[in-house]
Amino acid sequence: MSPILQGVLTIIIGVGGCLAYFYGSNLVLDRVVFPARNDDQGRNIRRATMVRPWLFLLPAILALGLYLVYPVVGSFIRSLYDRSGSNFVGLGNYLEMFQESGFRVAVFNNFLWILFVPAASTFFGLLVAQLTDRLSWGAIAKSLIFMPMAISFVGASLIWKFVYAGDPAIGIINAIGAYFGAAPVDPLQIPFWNNFFIMIIMVWMQTGFAMVILSAALRGIPEETIEAAIIDGANPFQLFFKIKVPQIAGTIAVVWTTITFLTLKVFDIVYTMTGGNFDTDILPSYMMDYMFRDDGRATAVAFVIMVIVTPVMIYNIRQARKDV
């Protein structure tokens, strides 16, 4: 069968199947299960109305169950077995992991990431959004700052590897250092601070995201409230912090939490920059260290990450709903 024919057939079966499901199931509900006839008319209509939403939700619930709930449960079960997957070890993987210094370093670094990356990205995003608001060349500045969003994490990491490169002929930092006569350094090997040099990459990428969302939010503030504050005597700083920021606080929270759980999922940057060496591991890259070698341990780490992300995500969704 030619690929085109196969594609067309798939679409017809897929779309037709959907239509058939929704039409057919509703028909069965209205005609057979709860027919709107005879004495029970009113009650049956009411019942059918109660059942109908579930009919529409069913395909989505099944798909989500298959692709989201099952893997979560499956992972949890897998994390209770050893590396071969055949011996049940209970919470052994977790206990072993908590005692390992590598895991503790990863958790500590991860907290640094959660604190620094969302804060810095949101701050710079807000700063750029405010500063470029009324600028004639603001749109150009904004698109330049937005651009890193379009690069993959690995691509961005490669760019920054050049920035940090030890050879002054390649790395711009060492080139500047060499100009002032300093000896070459490798920023990625400076203990503790190397974490921040890696985080800067994420900040560089996420500032654009924060800027776009916050810029739109700033535009949404009613102009009159700003004018009223000007008449009330507020200076530009008071205007920004007392009138504008409180009015977009909901959006700031959404941006902050969105970047927080993006941060909790990032592994590519650390993997590409240091491979987790020099005490720069974070939980996702720590997980990848064990993936395919000890799936029991890797799923245990994955589970810890999920437990950390979930509350942030719930807060995020609530905040986003409130905003609308």
Binding site: P222, T225, I231, D232, G233, Q238, P246, A249
Partner: protein
């Protein structure tokens, strides 16, 4: 307490688009001045220039004898009430009202006292700790007015403050503003509206803006009784004044005009012999018309009647001589006039004469 003086004020956007020019206006302390005009005439722009939200591109603005063209809004001694209330949504009513004083670093006791006094004046005391979103439209507008009062300004600026309220609330709030003015007789107020009733009831003097400038300034009844131009005559009063073209056939203390439509109008406006034969428009307000048996100013067929109970509006068939179909507003109820030919007469004291758009009273 403070008088305003606008001298040759103008506004140009981007150096090319002229919105206002040659505005000369003296506002005395304690006056309530209303700016009216058709939409787009620049009345809000003029108010915003006084507030300092728009730059004055020509002329000078003095408040209390001091040139304030380049003085920032907060130091002009003004407070403004916006059409959309412009309350800070994240602050309680109390914080909204005290924001300006907090910025000015006033003492806590002073702020509390000022806020509570304003709240009492506006019956807002029970709502002081609520957020604006928990208030009705009328309450929000009162908070906005309260925010202005707390600042104790020399000049209050109102930018269509009642436009966002429903009809009943608009009347109530209008009366509140009038009472507010009486409680603060020394404060100057400038009020922008497109609503004639607000203008007529609130104003000490009305400023009619049109064609980038001032068409006429005067007390409400002065504008109604002695309009300077056809524009002002038709803008003030509703339905608008009827204009009937004609030719002067008799001059003196009283002027006689033979109308193009066939009737004859007599006006108390005096003319000289030189005016004989002049082409004029006779202005007659719908409410000044009475039904006559003979010797009519106007006669025509009634196309439509609108019975409002207290008055009945007669809309006549379109007339080839008048620009707009003639309308008469008769007190009381008149039945069965539709389709009839009706003759109208008018008291000579209430007949206006215009030549080339300008009233003959102001020559």
């Amino acid at each position: 307490m403070a008088d305003l003086k606008l001298t040759d004020v103008g506004k140009t956007y981007g150096g090319t688009v002229e919105v206002l020019k040659h505005i000369d206006l003296d506002i005395e302390a304690g006056e309530l001045i209303v700016f009216v005009g058709p939409s787009g005439c620049g009345k809000s722009t003029l108010l915003r220039m006084i507030a300092g939200l728009e730059k004055i591109t020509a002329g000078t603005l003095d408040i209390a004898g001091q040139r304030v063209n380049d003085v920032p809004p907060a130091q002009r001694g003004i407070a403004m009430v916006f059409q959309s209330y412009a309350l800070y949504p994240h602050m309680t009513v109390r914080d909204n009202m005290s924001f300006a004083l907090q910025i000015a670093k006033k003492s806590k006791a002073e702020i509390t006292e000022a806020v509570e006094r304003a709240a009492r004046m506006l019956q807002l005391t029970p709502y002081l700790d609520r957020l604006p979103k928990a208030l009705s439209g009328g309450q929000r507008q009162r908070v906005a007015i309260g925010r202005a009062i707390v600042r104790d300004p020399k000049v209050f600026l109102f930018d269509e403050p009642l436009s966002n309220l429903d009809a009943a609330l608009r009347v109530a709030t209008r009366i509140e503003i009038a009472q507010l003015k009486e409680q603060m007789p020394d404060r100057t107020m400038i009020y922008v509206t497109h609503d004639q009733v607000e203008a007529m009831t609130l104003a000490t003097r009305i400023v009619v803006l049109a064609n980038k400038g001032i068409a006429q300034v005067g007390s409400p009844l002065e504008l109604y009784e002695r309009p300077k131009s056809e524009f002002v005559a038709q803008f003030i009063g509703s339905p608008a004044m009827n204009l009937l073209p004609g030719e002067i056939t008799g001059t003196g203390m009283r002027t006689t005009v033979r109308l193009a439509g066939g009737g004859t109008a007599v006006s108390d406006v005096s003319t000289s012999d030189a005016d004989m034969g002049m082409q004029v428009n006779v202005g007659v307000r719908p409410e000044d018309c009475t039904i006559a048996r003979q010797a009519a100013v106007y006669s025509g067929k009634v196309a439509l009647t609108e019975a409002l109970g207290e008055v009945t509006l007669l809309h006549f068939d379109p007339d080839e001589h008048a620009q707009e179909p003639v309308i008469a507003k008769l007190p009381g109820i008149h039945k069965g006039l539709r389709g009839e030919t009706v003759k109208l007469s008018v008291d000579p004291a209430k007949v206006h004469l215009f030549a080339q758009g300008t009233s003959l009273l102001y020559r």
